[in-house]
Symmetry: C2
Subunit: 138 residues, 2 copies
């Protein structure tokens, strides 16, 4: 009954000091370093109303995650009882889309510097959306 697959075409990628999966924070506000979102020139028109100082939701494709995972120990800690992946933010899941609430620090053409991004260096970016509603969810 479901068609597909559908093709996700990256619109940019992450440049970050985070290169090792083991060392990356589990969530963006848990000590993530500042990072760049580097966009393809072809989507620059779509970026034109983004502003420094605002928060946005960034969607990534977690290209180093496993897709054959349906249960995990949350936060990778064996002391946490196993849970179905759809009740967790595990990167490993059938479609490893990362959802990140970040703050824009500065914008330099198609390069956007952000806070609170826990994605690894080289992670493909697939979408950016405005935050709706009051602050503090992600």
């Amino acid at each position: 009954m479901t068609d597909g697959p559908y093709e996700l075409q990256p619109i940019g990628w992450v440049e970050s000091p985070l290169v090792a999966l083991e060392l990356a924070p589990k969530q963006g506000d848990e000590g993530s370093p500042e990072a760049w979102l580097v966009f393809e020139q072809g989507v620059s028109e779509g970026l034109r109303d983004l502003r420094a100082g605002t928060e946005v939701i960034v969607l990534t494709w977690l290209d180093r995650a496993r897709r054959d995972v349906l249960s995990v120990h949350p936060r990778g800690d064996p002391a946490n009882p196993e849970q179905g992946v759809f009740s967790t933010r595990s990167p490993g899941r059938p479609n490893p889309i990362g959802l990140h609430r970040v703050r824009i620090i500065s914008i330099d053409g198609t390069r956007i510097r952000v806070q609170n991004l826990e994605a690894l260096d080289g992670t493909p970016v697939v979408d950016v959306k405005p935050v709706l509603g009051p602050p503090r969810d992600r």
Copy 2:
């Protein structure tokens, strides 16, 4: 510098009385009818810790949206000045991933009934994630 494309494999689909794009609400809390998320049997293990009464974030693939759109009049209203799509929740965008905060009403095996979903009948579902942080964002 970006690889891809990547393959998004639907894990289920939406069953909703919403069949016409023109009549669908712009956001989930703007009068959406109750709807079902119907999941593939193959992912049922991943659903096992979802609970009625809780809110989750559902990611869909907006299969009827245009992908060649980089600027839009927000909410489809020509009176709103055109904006770059990444500052809007327009369905039309390079990767039309829908982000929906919904409330689970009931669960019947791999069928999950939800409130506040503005996606059209037949829309593919690609992921479900828990809400982090306090209520009221989406």
